[in-house]
């Protein structure tokens, strides 16, 4: 035993001499000091990472059996579901995994809203995060087209036509991306390449940079207290604890719970009640039969509702074009959040009433838009989605004003002894 221990220590040092793994472990794990009051909102970064690893692994397996041609894409999915050994569970892990990935990331981003995680000095962490989110949306879109069911096809068609409405370059751009004049075999095979190679590679790089940038400045916390303001004689934050072992063992609990929820879904609700796989995707793509109503997968629906909310022709431009402007703006505005929020405090716990009320209304509208995007266009009165869209923007665009003018509570100097919130 002791020989074994000695040998492995030798090996470790042999490697470390050539590749700084011990230092890396210290910097990012055992000597990375995280605030001791991180709550459940802080699980979702790790959970997103877990979900991403699951997508990579299950995705590689699927790639072995999937065929990216119009003739056989749909059939190859059924082949995986029926004839490939354990193929069904691999496919469900990938399909349910995509939705769980988005759930984790949406909650992860929302945590940023709550505790002002995007504020100085974490602007880059936020920007890289937003970049990741954009890539995830692209990844989700390309992936949904691959089974080439009827919703894959019509969804792709709708999105591609949106590109087509961009003035001057739109049509050429659409043809360039599609690789053809319509959604064809050329489109499918290039979407496959994007989905399994291009986007994942950039995603891996993005996630790496995201974590490195975070560890450079350290994690924020629910109180928004800067733990680096009070350090001991060794330069260690007094309110920090080493990530390893404290948060590693801590995070194991949500990890097991997440996996639990994941497998309950896989074994009992693999279609996610029609939200993860929409019923029209159980028939092959058919150019002649439009689904009753075309809806994207749930994680796109808030933006889809905004797209449909715009119905006016303006300055000689089609409503679709203005819809495109609106959703582009809706996503772009998130990038500017660190500079829109002028509050002297980070966490919502210490912000004023306006911030609290506005976030509440915004949340209602965002989820509301998500629902509207799933339903047929005439499901709610006409004014609802434009109103929600306006509130969505107002929350951000008015932020420089209300965050500056409202009265905030004073943030304590230190995280209190029991690590709980102070009142």
């Amino acid at each position: 035993m002791s020989l074994l221990t000695r040998k492995s220590t030798d090996l470790l040092h042999w490697i470390d001499y050539r590749l700084p793994i011990i230092q890396a472990f210290k910097t990012h794990m055992s000597e990375y000091y995280a605030p001791k009051n991180l709550n459940f909102w802080y699980f979702f970064g790790v959970l997103a990472m877990l979900a991403f690893a699951n997508q990579l692994l299950s995705g590689i397996w699927l790639t072995m059996f999937y065929t990216p041609t119009i003739e056989s894409a749909f059939a190859s999915i059924e082949y995986i579901m029926r004839d490939v050994e354990s193929g069904w569970i691999i496919r469900y892990m990938h399909e349910v995994g995509a939705s769980f990935f988005f759930i984790a990331v949406y909650l992860h981003i929302y945590r940023g809203f709550l505790y002002g995680s995007y504020k100085k000095p974490r602007e880059l962490v936020w920007l890289i995060g937003m970049f990741i989110y954009l890539l995830m949306m692209a990844e989700g879109f390309f992936g949904y087209v691959l089974p080439f069911g009827n919703m894959s096809f019509w969804g792709a068609k709708v999105i591609m036509n949106i590109i087509g409405v961009i003035p001057v370059i739109g049509e050429d751009l659409q043809i360039w991306v599609q690789g053809d004049f319509f959604i064809s075999g050329a489109t499918l095979s290039r979407f496959f390449a994007f989905h399994v190679a291009l986007v994942p590679i950039i995603l891996i790089a993005g996630i790496y940079l995201h974590v490195i940038a975070l560890h450079q400045v350290g994690s924020n916390n629910p109180e928004g207290i800067d733990i680096k303001a009070h350090k001991d004689e060794n330069g260690i934050p007094l309110d920090g604890i080493p990530f390893h072992p404290y948060y590693t063992v801590h995070d194991l609990i949500p990890v097991v719970l997440f996996i639990l929820a994941f497998f309950v879904t896989i074994f009992y609700f693999p279609d996610g009640g029609g939200f993860f796989i929409e019923p029209p995707n159980y028939i092959p793509a058919n150019n002649l039969s439009t689904p009753d109503h075309i809806t994207p997968v749930w994680y796109f629906t808030p933006f889809y509702a905004m797209l449909r909310a715009v119905t006016i022709t303006f300055l000689g431009m089609d409503a679709k074009f203005w819809g495109l402007i609106v959703i582009t703006g809706a996503i772009l505005v998130l990038f500017f959040l660190p500079w829109l929020d002028r509050s002297p405090v980070k966490s919502l716990r210490y912000k004023g009433r306006v911030s609290k009320a506005f976030l509440m209304i915004w949340t209602f509208c965002f989820i509301g838009l998500g629902v509207l995007g799933i339903k047929p266009a005439d499901w709610a009165p006409e004014w609802v989605s434009p109103t929600f869209t306006i509130i969505y923007f107002a929350y951000f665009l008015l932020m420089p004003f209300y965050t500056r003018w409202e009265t905030c509570k004073t943030v304590p100097e230190r995280i209190t002894a029991n690590g709980q919130r102070s009142r």
Partner: protein, 226 residues
Amino acid sequence: MKLLYLTITLTLLSTALLAAESPVELLSANTDIQDKASLRRGAYLFINQCTSCHSAKYMRYARLARDLEISEEEVVDNMLRFGATKISDTISSAMTPDAGEKAYGIAPPDLTLEAKYRGVDWVYSYLMGFYKDEKTTFGYNNRVMNNVAMPWILASSQESMSEEEFSRDMRDLTNFMDYMAEPIKPWRQNFGKYVIIFLLVLLIPVWLLKREYWRDIHGLRSPTSV
């Protein structure tokens, strides 16, 4: 903060409630996918009555034999139809799509995934939904699919059987179509509970581990003192 969480919960709850509406009144199928006898009856019904027009081109006879515990000889002797010669073949139909389109104006669709596409309640309601209607050209119609192009092939059995017998048959048929749309479904629903129990048990040591490590965190002044 509490108010915020309340808003989120309420919004999500109301969403869940809103999601539960359906445009047409559907009968509830009440099928039990674990009931092998029902699935077997459904399989015979499907193969005898439906494959003259519909295929199920992703469903293999061999899989059906194994899952539903029907012997291979029985399948080869009594179930293979219309071009299927080996047990590893899939369920094909007597009619090419073109011939179907010529005969009925619309090709009878492949039914492998029908139960997933429309839902079991819809399929059951459809099968139960044929009725006499003098207003149409052929004198019948369907409750969930107006001006249906499919012939009322079930008319004779519907007449010769009691209401109960007929609905049992249709339930078995629907059950089989549900199975056919995802042959792993009965198995996964059975096996899932072991995975869940395993993970629940795993939660205990994981939770104890965390508690053990965090025991001293409250008095913690500086991490170097650990």
